[in-house]
Amino acid sequence: MVKKIDYSIVLKGAAFPLLLIFVWEITARLGYLNALFLPAPSKIGYTFVQMVADGSWAVNLLASLKRLAYGFLITVCLAVPLGIVVGRARSFQHWISPTLSFLQQIPPIAWIPIFILALGIYEAPKIAVIIYAAFFPVFLNTVQGVSSVDPKLVEVGRAYMLSPLSMIRRVYIPSAGISIFVGLRLGLSNCWRALVMAEMITRTTGIGAQIWEGRDLMQPDRIFVAVFTIGVVGLIIDIILKRMEHRFMPWKKKHPGDKR
């Protein structure tokens, strides 16, 4: 029951970027822009095609996506079960929530030097940053979702003799589903941004490393290809998750205050 794409909305959304690119191209061609840091869109496009052709674009993107997938999966496996346990034990929340609120204030990038010292510059520190970045939104939203489960529904589960495990699977998780999903979406977009930062600092492979590479080579067009790739991939990830949300939670459609 996925909605058909409304083309007029797509058109409206695309109008502004297209106009911007158009103006940018014109001003660049007229020589108003410094090509050292603002190359013309056509030049960026050309570089993009070249990078696709020589494979460097895909290599970096795949490296980043692979890290994202691993890191995010690990986070989900840690944060969701932990969130369910903590969400059910209310008293436990008093013990840990101040600590969590404190940790949440620290941006993942602040930990990168420590992670590098502890874990080297290859995959481990990047995965660690991703986990750190995604953990809090996923965990906190799961806790929130589970602890706000309607006790009346839990009682129905009890009256119908659900085992503790079925209770979690059939009452807590679906109840908390919307909240968990919000956490996953936030977590994933946090992941993606934190990963780019981590890659920029460790400068090995990936889309973030490509940005520094562009700077080192004094090729701003390569930087722009990377930057745009980051934005577009982030957008696509979010769209996919939104679609999944509607697929898995068809009952959510009519919730008041829910746009779309």
Binding site: L153, A159, Y160, M161, G177
Partner: protein, 262 residues
């Protein structure tokens, strides 16, 4: 031969299913203690339709929840089929005052919620279809709770209880939030369902007419702390004729006996 069959049927009809023995319930909260029930006893036979009436706050819900095993009595005991009630069981299904449906499940899935052997697809389908049929919601099996009216939602709740295959249905004012005509229709449906399934039913209500229309026996409770004021047998034939003198007489009798004053 036929007399024996008759006898055994009679015996099974007389068999005591639920025994509430001298229960009291005291709630302790931050601001003090509330005695909700005091030395309350009654019993209910297999296949019997019993209603519990009483003024608001007299402990009807508490009593039903204790029978359901969702609440522990302070003293006394509840016997179900001869054994002590220590918690919820497969032999009892509750229909709460609100439908309490799971918003993420369709009508059909909500009804199938309590089915024991949920891996046995055939059994699930059979019981779900049967329940859907009994509560008249075949055409709405794919609907979600937010797409249902209040009466339909309550019917789903009843269907969910039926699919659980309990010996007894425990209903807590299931129709109290419905308008008069929907209420009358659902009362009729519940009676029909009782005739078809021969389930034991205990229904809580504060509506005297509802008690008289539905039950064979009504437990009249006194105001808080709740205890049994009177057990009244309603030996009128079904369907109950509300304008008949006998009906009116009973109604007046209960009105006189049930004190709404605190």
């Amino acid at each position: 031969m036929s007399t024996i069959a008759n006898n055994s049927q009679k015996n099974s009809n007389q068999e005591m299913l639920i025994q509430v023995n001298n229960i009291s319930k005291i709630f302790t909260s931050n601001w003090g203690k509330v005695q909700a029930l005091q030395n309350l006893s009654f019993s209910c036979n297999r296949g019997e339709f019993v209603t519990i009436v009483g003024p608001s706050g007299c402990g009807k819900t508490t009593l039903l929840r204790i029978i359901a095993g969702l609440e522990r009595q302070t003293t006394g005991e509840v016997l179900f089929n001869g054994s002590k009630v220590l918690g919820p069981g497969h032999d009892r299904a509750v229909v709460f005052q609100e439908p309490r449906l799971f918003p993420w499940l369709t009508v059909e899935q909500n009804i199938a919620f309590g089915i024991r052997d949920s891996r046995n697809k055939q059994k699930v389908k059979y019981l779900t279809d049967k329940s859907l049929d009994l509560v008249g919601l075949k055409d709405f099996r794919q609907a979600y709770p937010h797409e249902l009216s209040g009466g339909m939602a309550q019917r789903v709740a009843i269907g969910r209880a039926l699919a659980f295959e309990p010996a007894a249905l425990l209903l807590d004012e299931p129709f109290s939030s419905l308008d008069v005509s929907t209420r009358a229709r659902l009362q009729g449906e519940l009676l029909e369902l009782w005739h078809k399934t021969a389930k034991t039913i205990i229904l809580v209500t504060h509506n005297i007419t509802e008690a008289l229309v539905l039950s064979q026996k009504t437990i009249i409770m006194s105001p808080a702390p709740g205890s049994v004021k009177e057990v009244l047998a309603i030996d009128l034939p079904y369907p109950r004729e509300q304008n008949s003198p006998a009906f009116q007489e009973k109604k007046e009798y209960i009105h006189k006996n049930i004190s709404y004053k605190h």
